[in-house]
Symmetry: C2
Subunit: 382 residues, 2 copies
Amino acid sequence: MSKDNDEMVVTPWEVKGKIDYDRLIEEFGTQRIDKKLLDRIYKITGEKHFMLDRELFFSHRDLDWALKEYEKGNRFIIYTGRGPSGNVHIGHLVPWIFTKWWQEKFDTRLYFQLTNDEKFWFDQDLTFDKVKQLTYDNALDVIAVGFEPENTFIIQDIEHIDMMYEIAVQVAKKVTFSTARAVFGFENSMNIGGIFYPSMQAVPAFLHSWIYGKKTPCIIPCAIDQDPHWRITRDVAEKLGYYKPASIQNKFVPGLQEGGKMSSSNPMSAVYTTDTPKMARKKVMAAFTGGRDTADEQRKLGANPDICSVFKYYNFIFMPDDKELADIEKKCRGGEMLCGECKQILAPRIMKFLEEHQERREEAKERLHEFSAARLRDEIRR
Amino acid sequence: MSKDNDEMVVTPWEVKGKIDYDRLIEEFGTQRIDKKLLDRIYKITGEKHFMLDRELFFSHRDLDWALKEYEKGNRFIIYTGRGPSGNVHIGHLVPWIFTKWWQEKFDTRLYFQLTNDEKFWFDQDLTFDKVKQLTYDNALDVIAVGFEPENTFIIQDIEHIDMMYEIAVQVAKKVTFSTARAVFGFENSMNIGGIFYPSMQAVPAFLHSWIYGKKTPCIIPCAIDQDPHWRITRDVAEKLGYYKPASIQNKFVPGLQEGGKMSSSNPMSAVYTTDTPKMARKKVMAAFTGGRDTADEQRKLGANPDICSVFKYYNFIFMPDDKELADIEKKCRGGEMLCGECKQILAPRIMKFLEEHQERREEAKERLHEFSAARLRDEIRR
């Protein structure tokens, strides 16, 4: 029996096939971010963001409600996270960059969860020492994005379990194996840590309310593949006396090679934050594009930016200016610009971006305590 | 279809039916404590214990190995515990009293786990506040048994999770849902906390080794219904670089009413440590015995101590002197002593026991810190 290789699979642990975002919205039961909601956001932020305009952030749950609460003076916190299963690549930074903007515009607190227990449980080959090393390494990247330390709290599940377990224990009681299996597709071969894990990913949505004893709305900026987790979180929220967390969801950032999202398991498909700028240039120059087989053909027929990873890099992060992007798209389609030339524009941008990120990442080694959620221990109401 | 009500069920969460200890040893795959092993124990302790002589502690795993290690100078720690699902009754104290003796004779450290996460997960009606209250209350009873504080560390799962989670995470990765279901009979309606829980019950078996970075044998005195937990623990031990924990297992302490073990869900079946001595007397006087319908009949035919809860109280705790016990058994069988008379011997013993326990329990309120595992935080090698 042949199997359609393009079949879409989207779970928190696997994204493959051709992604149909309309179908995802329908299947997950989320809402599209429409013009009206966008206007409402911009009325508060006073500034547009290309990731919203370009529908890179395209879907949400209860964002309208959270904004309404905000307008009434009931401020939200934001929560996002990262599973430290490998090095951070530029694709990971896209939603973090948006999160930073969102945090600044709404002047609110960010809880950033590093789910090292999850990755240890879900990656059979990941050792305990390795996942701890990755947690440290990934925290440096989070800090390097430039979040304000006074409003940013990096939570490491294993290290900060003392602040999380009370909530996780209460969430876990409300979630049966049947439910977890239906939502995540757990097999009987799944280890009992992985089965418990959804309780841990719920915690930061409630943490602020729990610490301060004040029911506080929460908005989660995240890639849409993580939505199943917060479906569980939303299911239990009210039973535990919290608000259901809202979310604002982004599309998957494509890799430098054909298809799928950037993947840590294929080094050439992604530019890592620890790549040397020279290595990054090399990856860009080797990237998959929508170009023709020969220069002549391309000059005559034009190229296809819709499938081009270089163009997607521009779209997602390196060409926030809409006019510039439209211009390059026109030249691409019209055959005026060849792929090599186009890559020569992207490469120095990525290199500059990396150099700056790496400088802040180096400084972050001395600044971990400034961002650590451990600072909250003294504020917990027991 | 009729169902045999006497059918034996023994799991960590349910004990019912007529208990066949020979069958349990066979089904669980444990070893009987034989004469040779008993001699070996007594050679070290220099003193007999009636709970061993009477085969109340009757079964074990690897106890011979742990003693051999001890003889070689590789000392073990001991670990036992309690699920704080309700008030402590005298039946619970029986293995703790033995554990105290064992601790003293081997001059070793005891880790006493209060599994409040477990009880919260497994008892649908238990609230979070209630389980925290019970944890406190039960800790008082543990202390009142008279353990040496310098060698005793009471672990409360939720409160001390920071010292436990690293180990639990590593255990959990090695246990699949299939295995947990096969061992514990989990249904799909089990919550995901309960499924994770076996990882937590494994932790104290490894905690000492983990804290001090030194592989240390562990002996677990416990009721045999808890054996499935440590089957899991033993399965993963060597993979994680620890010794398999040994165990020494006791029979269930019978209740004051007919059948089963003492049960917190039937208040009259048990004497609680918080019962007034007067209430305890009342329960003893109302207890189920092996007596006849009339005094005349009993004088003529004698009574049956084999099914008598009063006699079982003597056997398990209140008549450690073998001669005294044999004497009362003889009088009972011979019809020389009626049940009321017999109960008049038990009642003052229980009352005195309770008064002394309650005095120490009251003092314990000021001594919790002396026994808390929190003292170990500073010793953890990170």
